[in-house]
Symmetry: C2
């Protein structure tokens, strides 16, 4: 059976199974239209960025964000609001600085990567070797970077779907490869499409060996390359950091209880932890604002949909851990988890949604939002639902226009100032109407169509 | 006589006075076309941003920039290269930091303004009062801000001609007005059209009384406003700075000597000093690169134009002083200074040029560059030619598209990364052909047409 035909058959089956189908579509459309001017998402996002600010794991603000979230979910009418904790060692940033000391003194804008080793007391001063791509570094023989600071100045490609990030981000994890070749530190051009000097952090997650590792502002990486083309360049680097091995992370959730089959649950959400230079507005305050607002609008309906909608605010996306913890804590629930979706690519307009199967009425509801319904099932729905996905929970793919997302993400510029309120609301409209349709349907996304 | 008719008459007179007119236009057009692919301007800009970096007055890099400039002008074939020094007290930035301490701790991105007083040892901690416009602050009665940190969160309007800056920049100079009302410090939203967190510095130039004064990142100003709307906000502020009253500044110049009337001089240039957070690429490395490259291309011609072209790299624009020093040093020369022009609005495309009178062939030469020749004489040609203008030297108005200029200027993001090489060369093409036409003409711009 062809995939398209299979989807069509399932759609027909779903329509037959749901006598309230026409009503569902009508309600979804009304939700969509209400969401476009609703203030909930903006208010949530304004609240967390203003009252909490950056929320890196291990910080006091991270602790405050937990209490903020519980209070916020309760005040918005969610039920069964609770916190699920799990152990998660925290890397804590200290003072950081870097400068060119020869041939001419120039300060460098740079930020340590999560899990970086600190530099020894007094810092590191060493000559740099600049590579124009990560592949170039990997081509170097063992020992060839002995005593050097390895620099990779590899640009990232701007794309609508964010795929340029996937292609470039491997370079952020190059400290072990540089160390294996003898380097004493590793500096990588920020994985960003921007031109600004604000560097973009992120985690390094390799097995080691570890050395101090940091991301450079884009012009700073270019500067090192330009200076290195003229002769020897020496850089001084200071990166302080510490580890709290006993830190605790959390996933927080609240529900809009289903009216008929409350044990069938749609899981959606975003992550509440953030990197520290900005205020975590697009990564991922927006995700929690969008999905929470969408569920809240559904909760405000005179009649809840048939199934339960659960919003999860995952607590450790940037350093990993929440996906596994959530999947582990909810493994017995997997057969009842209808579908899982995450909003974690900012708040710019959604241009496409993808489902494992057809959903009656979806094209009709999405059309005024200029959202395409993909003919292909999603492959990736977000880091935090990765554990559920592995366990067999079907996933949603919701594609934000990521054209400008990587100008800002993981940098000081990730603040409320870059969020477009109308596009934020388009996101809420997509999530609210999409989730409502799923929650009021009887479709079993676990059942795989006979895909060719 | 109508202004247009007067210009037409002058144009005819100029054509009659210059038998080589057709040849001039042909040469100007050839210069224009060569400039569009010439590497000189880019190389100058790359050199100063890479080898010197930020060049604030009073810094070692500023001293280095003087030697760099002399060497560069000589190597490009300029003659009579020399340095004119003048005394200029230097304000020198120290360590700076600020944070919200209540109701919730949040770091603030901020940069001290030039000439700010330092905070007392241990810093200042005080409640803030936020005004949404500078006019709102001016409306406050004396004493009403006693013990407070006054904050003005006034946005700047984006415009092609940069006029939004003129309208907003007064707020940067509000420390005295805040002090008169009792404030202990003054924080102003950066005078910028950007959304980034990198704050934009600049000088404060008022008579006093003086208090510590700094510019906030745009999201940081919004954050203070949002927090203040919720209740009392306390901010801790540390601004260190010092003054070197015996510092020396300089204007540097070099010439392409005229073949027939070398004592008739066209003065063009940009300023070599810069603020310190970026590398001074668009403010104003670009200006010196563009005008130097334009003059160098003219100098490379088999035959120099009739008059002399002098490139001046003014040394103290950001803190004022070079315009007056230059005018004073050259006051006896004023009758022989044909015209003066400055490039100090970045390197984005030029969309208009304005002259005190018509210049035969100019429209024809500018047309392929999409540059309009204004029907109005220029009012302002750049800060550094202000002294000459006051002394009676006619000025040129060369209008860059400033739409995005104030996203970057005076901030860390003012680096080579934001310069578009093709637009930089369009600038060189405009300046080279325009200046050549003037230098090879006999027009006396001092003679005023009978403007109605």
């Amino acid at each position: 059976m062809s995939r398209k035909f299979a989807i069509a058959l399932f759609a027909v089956a779903a329509i037959l199974a749901a006598p309230s189908f026409a009503g569902s579509v009508e309600t979804a459309a009304a939700l969509r239209d209400k969401a476009l001017t609703d203030a909930t998402a903006w208010n949530i996002l304004e609240s967390i960025t203003t009252e909490i600010g950056p929320r890196p794991i291990g910080s006091p603000a991270y602790e405050r964000s937990r209490d903020w979230a519980v209070k916020k979910l309760k005040s918005l009418g969610f039920t069964d609001v609770h916190v699920e904790t799990f152990p998660k060692s925290a890397w804590i940033r200290g003072a950081e600085s870097a400068e060119v000391v020869a041939p001419v003194p120039q300060k460098l804008a740079l930020i340590g990567l999560g899990n970086s080793l600190p530099t020894p007391k007094g810092g590191i001063e060493a000559p740099v070797v600049v590579f124009n791509s990560y592949a170039e570094l990997l081509d170097q023989p063992p020992g060839s970077l002995k005593g050097k600071i390895a620099v990779v100045n590899q640009p990232m490609t701007r794309t609508q779907d964010g795929s340029g990030y996937g292609a470039a981000v491997e370079a952020r994890n190059g400290d072990a490869e540089a160390a294996k070749r003898g380097a004493v530190a590793y500096l990588v051009r920020s994985i960003s499409t921007g031109t600004g000097r604000a560097p973009h952090t992120g985690a390094t997650w390799g097995e080691g060996p570890h050395i101090p590792v940091a991301a450079l502002g884009m012009p700073d990486a270019d500067l090192l390359a330009s200076l290195a083309a003229r002769g020897t360049v020496r850089v001084r680097l200071n990166l302080a950091s510490s580890i709290n091995p006993k830190a605790v992370s959390f996933n927080i959730s609240g529900e809009i209880k289903g009216r008929e089959v409350p044990d069938e649950v749609i899981v959606i959400g975003g992550h509440i932890d953030s990197w520290d230079p900005g205020t975590g507005a697009i990564d991922d305050g927006a995700g929690i604002a969008i999905t929470t607002a969408a569920a809240k609008l559904i909760g405000d309906l005179p009649q809840h949909p048939r199934r339960t909608i659960r919003v999860v605010l995952w607590g450790s996306e940037e350093n990993g851990g929440s996906a596994q913890a959530y999947a582990e804590a909810h493994k017995t629930e997997v057969p009842k988890l209808v579908i899982a979706g995450e909003s974690d690519l900012g708040a710019d307009r959604i241009y496409q949604v993808a489902l494992p199967q057809g959903l009656p009425g979806l094209e009709e509801v999405m059309a005024p939002l200029k959202v395409i319904v993909s003919g292909e099932p999603p492959r990736h729905g977000g880091s935090d639902i990765g554990g559920l996905q592995k366990a067999g929970v079907p996933i949603l793919g919701v594609s934000n226009d990521a054209t400008r997302y990587f100008d800002y993400h993981h940098s000081a510029d990730d603040t409320l100032a870059i969020v477009n309120r109308a596009e934020l609301n388009q996101n809420v409209a997509v999530w609210a109407s999409l989730i409502y349709l799923i929650a009021d349907s009887g479709i079993d996304f676990h059942a795989k169509p006979d895909v060719k």
